[in-house]
Symmetry: C2
Amino acid sequence: MFDLLRNYIERFTSLPDEDWQLLLPHLLRKDLTKGACFSREGKICKEIGFVVSGNMRHYYTKDGEERTTYFYFENSMVTDYISCILGKPGSLTIEAMSDTSLIVFPYAILKSLYNQSHAWERFGRLLSEYLAAGLEERMTGLLMLNAEERYAQLLNSNRQKIIERIPQHLIANYLGITPVSLSRIRKRISKK
Amino acid sequence: MFDLLRNYIERFTSLPDEDWQLLLPHLLRKDLTKGACFSREGKICKEIGFVVSGNMRHYYTKDGEERTTYFYFENSMVTDYISCILGKPGSLTIEAMSDTSLIVFPYAILKSLYNQSHAWERFGRLLSEYLAAGLEERMTGLLMLNAEERYAQLLNSNRQKIIERIPQHLIANYLGITPVSLSRIRKRISKK
DNA sequence: CCGATCCGTTAACAAATGATAAGAAAATGA
DNA sequence: TCATTTTCTTATCATTTGTTAACGGATCGG
């Protein structure tokens, strides 16, 4: 099963077996039941996860309300990256939306791999670049497009999984609008 | 003068002289007059810049209008990172807002340094992480805060340079609102 | 010095979005 | 199965934001 993670990593950069063996002993399987948390607001996130099956969301809290801003599906990494990088308590909570299987390993291990191996350092760079590119695209959407255009953008992106598998009020959060507003947008679009 | 760049890099990770010497021969000084462009929409960005003096902005074009979403001040890196990373034509234009002095070098050189040296690869990782953390914070602000809160956030951040040195209609762009709306927000705040 | 341009404010109106509540359909769980 | 919860829609009203236009001050170049 751990090969799923290896394949994911090799999509960024080829990883000699020697390097892979440095990580392998630290991998664990972790199963979360629906509603369980991987990382919590106020706690320092010390683990990296890889979603084998299931899906998760992360949310911030404002005025006591959860505001979901990201979703994780199978075959992707999950962590509070900011908390890991800065080593500070996170401001978001990551929660399983369904029963979810993860492969996990300590962020401290990844950091030590950065020191031990150029290949792992490269993976870290490419992962961060990939992350930054995604954030940039999404932020530009928020700055340049209105709510309806953002929903259309999501429809035409490679993130359809979100439309298909996520409840609408959470998609509204993700788009930065209210569920009521998203419902209106959908109605407007369906009339065209 | 090139030491300014070296100091900047060393704030991320210590760089042995040997590694610095790999980059040094490729550094050039470049002066832009007010209004000149460092990178243009539709062109592949092939250079990394470091702002020695002056300031710049980058903007996207929507319906023929410029939408400024970022500012660069002295002592910071400037480039169309997405265009560099993906090797694709950029969708933004980077322009000098005043006469600006840069240190520049080809992105291709940085890429080769990634191959030649673990220390440079590390710098690349840390720079990307720093970039991602900044994008994440700003995106969260866009999703969680209304326009007035975003302006207050900017006021209380370590980005006051923007308030002090940037025309208000461009700050409005940066916040994702219209200049008229920002003017109203400022009026509301001043009444308190 | 003068004209042109840029910049910020204000007003009036239109459009979009938020807040709240009600109701119905669908999913969930005992 | 039945009650409960979740999810989505719709309506109403308030608020915010966008749009357009006008005005005056500031800045800039000749």
